[in-house]
């Protein structure tokens, strides 16, 4: 269903033709290695680009232009895909047929994208100082705001400790200390390097002819002097951290996060089994963790597990009363032991498989989810297509789930709790 069109060396368009939506979307992503030194720089650049172009030199001119394009949106795109970090822009817009008669939206949108990428406001040959300064402040605030969401904060703190030697320990937006060091010159030089060297992935969902779009995009990318450099392959988890950690803060509810490792990644044959294990152990309202720790014992409101297939990391997080930490940890381990021992009912296995299958069936129901799933799969170099993955999940057996569970080892624990408790 996806048409892959090579635009230029190191630049690919993936188009998902779809007539049934009211909106289309187009994303452009430059691929970088996830690296402590440049993560904050990569996160900053799209925000600076969105501040103004030579033709539309401030936010208001940009927003008014988007208003004229029927409330189209352009946003910064900064993703972590395994060992890679992507930076770019995401555009959403109504399909031409919903505009007033004769109006066009898609092509003006591409013109505008080109303007944002290739004609930013400059000063002395580099990014405009005001834009860099204020977006730096915003980036640092966004990095620090993780602290406001205690669940995300605790998950991030655990990951930093678990992945001290792995790229997964670098937060998606980088660290505040690195952001502090950025100046207009360093941001500009880095951006030029990104434009020149980084592989480019463009993803489009909508009703336009992919070939026509490809021609326009080729023209745009042709204006950049490109010397693309390949990225290294994705790597499995590199051990270098671990331990048991406690942090005190003024909070009402404690957040417990456990990090587990497994050698199974999304590049392995056993990946579907590991996904099923994660679903039946901790994802959703019929999982073992939810049914036992919340429903049976009333020990929490939120509990769940997550599996990061690109690395082979599984996490469990729960919001609990700190006094119950021992009991909750014991149940988390005991329920994993049940999986290892094959104490898995037919209902649990079916529910887990169905949860994944339902999610896969619905991937193609909205432009945003198509872009999100397919572009990340392509960038992460996941070998299985949606259809192949679907069939593999359908075939996962209890024995395979047991085998996957036996590869899972507790690696790091972290708890955030009130100073008084």
């Amino acid at each position: 269903m996806i048409r892959t069109i090579s635009l230029l060396p190191g630049a690919t368009l993936r188009a998902f033709p779809a007539e049934r939506f009211k909106q289309g979307c187009l994303s452009i992503q430059f691929l970088r290695p996830m690296d402590r030194q440049e993560a904050a720089l990569n996160a900053l650049i799209p925000a600076v680009l969105l501040r103004g172009t030579v033709r539309r030199p401030d936010l208001r001119a940009i927003t008014q232009h988007l208003d004229d394009l029927y409330g189209a949106s352009v946003g910064a795109l900064v993703r972590r895909v395994g060992d890679y970090q992507t930076l770019g822009l995401y555009c959403g817009f109504i399909e031409d047929r919903y505009a007033f008669a004769g109006d066009r939206v898609l092509m003006p949108m591409i013109d505008f994208l080109e303007e944002l990428l290739l004609s930013p406001v400059t000063e002395d040959g580099v990014f405009f100082q005001d834009f860099v300064d204020s977006e730096k402040r915003n980036l640092i605030a966004a990095i620090q705001a993780e602290r406001n969401d205690k669940r995300a904060y605790a998950a991030g703190q655990m990951m930093r400790r678990m992945c001290a030697a792995d790229s997964f320990g670098v937060p998606r937006l980088g660290e505040a200390e690195q952001a502090e060091k950025i100046c207009p010159r360093s941001a500009w030089d880095h951006y030029q390097k990104v434009l020149r060297e980084s592989p480019v992935e463009i993803f489009y969902v909508g009703g336009a002819d992919p070939e026509v779009l490809a021609e326009r995009l080729r023209q745009m990318l042709g204006k950049i002097c490109r010397q693309p450099v390949d990225l290294p392959a994705q790597t499995p988890f590199r051990d270098g951290g671990g331990g048991d950690h406690t942090e005190l803060m003024e909070v009402s509810q404690a957040k417990l996060v456990l990090g587990f490792t497994t050698p199974i990644t999304n590049r392995d044959r056993d990946f579907p089994a590991m996904q099923v294990l994660n679903a039946l152990y901790g994802a959703g309202m019929t999982s073992k963790l939810f049914m036992d720790i919340r429903e049976k014992r009333s020990l929490c409101y939120s509990i769940g597990s997550g599996y990061y297939g690109s690395k082979g990391i599984m996490t469990v997080s729960a919001g609990i009363d700190a006094r119950n930490e021992g009991l909750v940890r014991q149940r988390i381990e005991a329920l994993l032991d049940e999986c290892r021992a094959g104490q898995i009912s037919d209902e649990e296995l079916t529910a887990a498989r169905e949860a994944i299958l339902s999610g896969l069936r619905a991937v193609h129901d909205s432009p945003g989810s198509i872009e999100g799933y397919e572009s990340v799969a392509a960038i992460g170099r996941i070998a299985l297509s949606v259809e192949e993955y679907y069939q593999a999940v359908e075939r996962v057996t209890r024995e395979q789930v047991m085998a996957a569970a036996r590869t899972v080892r507790l690696h790091t624990s972290y708890i955030l709790k009130g100073a008084a408790s």
Binding site: K22, G71, S73, Q253, S298, E354, A355, S358
Partner: protein
């Protein structure tokens, strides 16, 4: 069923009101794999006082939400597990003035819908199960107490209202949920969960007639009495408290600013007022406004800033908020800019641009099943067909927007709720 076409939106809706009063709305989406169903009652956390069969009742704060949790229990089996077997994911939420139960699935739609109807219309509460839920909801309340965005909004509601139930958090408090028992839950269910008080909305590639038939066979033909909501006296258009701050574990100050508005009632005129207020907010502090640019460039707001008009049964307010080093200055600048706008007027081309943008965004949102289902239900409960929004936008004039700003964006109608990072030891609890 009656089918209505909305050619401008490329949409169709099939509607029926069953003999028992249940309204059924189906939005066919041929070719889509996902199917989504919402079953909604117009009881929310604020509907604590009501008259049922001649008798007045007051239930503890947090009852609507507690009921939402407990309604998933059936006497003989676990309905969530059953839905999971069918590949459906089910959930629910409680807001100030409605409660919604919903599932999405890709297959076995009939069976899933049947289960949804069964559990929502089957109240089953025992001392033991109700007691067990207290620990879970207690943890949910604790989680909210650590979430600055909840705390700053709940504090704002307390500051703006004297008697309206919006002052009380949707979840209730540790103390009020302690008073909830099987009898009070049964009472709420009897009062507001009659088919006549509810709406079922489905989006997806389904047969509309089949949805209506199934709903009728599960809910019976009989109408049930619906409770009369007892509302507090209308409030004065001033706020009891102008400014309140509280300290929490946050990285930088965060605020919510509220302006008290007259309740808008129900029906198309109410929706016209709502969309006018929303556009007025856009003109005043939206991303394409002059003020937004100024505040952003001066570092007084960042991308977390946003706001709009909100209407809840019996009250309405204009809010905005986000992170800021100087929330009081943001408030003052908004007040000053509103005056200026009212003096200078709004150019016609600017209004047109804003309308085009707002319409385009709403059309794009129709691709989202969840947003479409939610909006159809919420507007249906206020007596309005959501898909009529294009005509309303067209009828709006600059005077409508300015009249709203002139009346509402005033110092005496405004409260500013702020959360500051922990700094000194004297913590003031708002």
């Amino acid at each position: 069923m009656i089918m209505t076409e909305y050619p401008r939106l490329g949409e169709r809706v099939c509607r029926a009101t069953l003999e028992n009063g249940l309204d059924v709305l189906v939005v066919p989406r041929p070719g889509a794999t996902k199917k989504l169903a919402y079953l909604v009652t117009d009881m929310g956390s604020i509907h604590r006082r009501f008259r049922l069969e001649g008798k007045e009742h007051t239930v503890p704060a947090g009852s609507a939400h507690y009921l939402e949790h407990k309604l998933f229990d059936l006497p003989d089996r676990d309905v969530t597990a059953q839905l999971a077997q069918l590949g459906a994911s089910v959930n629910a939420f409680t807001s100030y003035d409605m409660t919604a139960y919903y599932f999405s699935c890709t297959e076995h739609f009939r069976e899933c819908l049947d289960l949804l109807l069964e559990f929502v219309f089957t109240p089953y509460f025992t001392e033991e199960t109700v007691e067990k839920e207290r620990g879970i909801i207690g943890q949910e309340i604790d989680m909210n107490m650590d979430a600055p965005e909840s705390v700053v909004f709940e504090q704002l509601m307390e500051m703006m209202y004297r008697g309206h139930e919006i002052r009380t958090p949707i979840l209730g408090t540790a103390q009020t949920i302690g008073q909830i028992c099987p009898e009070s839950l049964i009472l709420c269910h009897r009062a507001f969960y009659g088919p006549d008080n509810m709406v079922l909305c489905v989006v997806g590639d389904v047969d509309p007639a089949e949805v209506a038939d199934l709903a009728l066979s599960r809910t019976g033909r009989e109408k049930r009495p619906v409770a009369e909501k007892l509302c507090p006296a209308p409030e004065e258009m001033t706020c009891p408290a102008a400014y309140k701050t509280r300290q929490m574990e946050v990285a930088m100050p965060t605020f919510q600013l509220g302006f008290k508005c007259e309740p808008i009632g129900k029906g198309p005129e109410a929706v016209r007022q709502e969309l006018a207020a929303d556009l007025a907010a856009e003109a005043l502090f939206g991303e394409s406004s002059a003020l937004y640019l100024e505040l952003y460039q001066q570092g007084l707001i960042d991308q977390s800033f946003g706001g709009g008009f909100e209407s809840v049964d019996g009250c309405a307010l204009l809010t905005c908020g986000g992170d800021s080093m100087d929330p009081a200055q943001v408030r003052d600048r908004i007040l000053a800019r509103a005056e200026e706008l009212c003096r200078e007027g709004l150019p016609e081309e600017e209004l047109l641009r804003m309308k085009r943008s707002a319409m385009g965004r709403r059309i794009r949102d129709l691709d989202s099943f969840d947003s479409t289902c939610f909006r159809l239900c919420a507007y249906h409960l206020t007596g309005f067909d959501y898909f009529d929004f294009p005509a309303i936008y067209e009828s709006l004039k600059a005077e409508d927007l300015l009249a709203f700003l002139g009346r509402v964006v005033r110092r005496e109608r405004c409260s500013l709720s702020v959360i500051e990072p922990l700094g000194n030891k004297e913590e003031k609890h708002g």
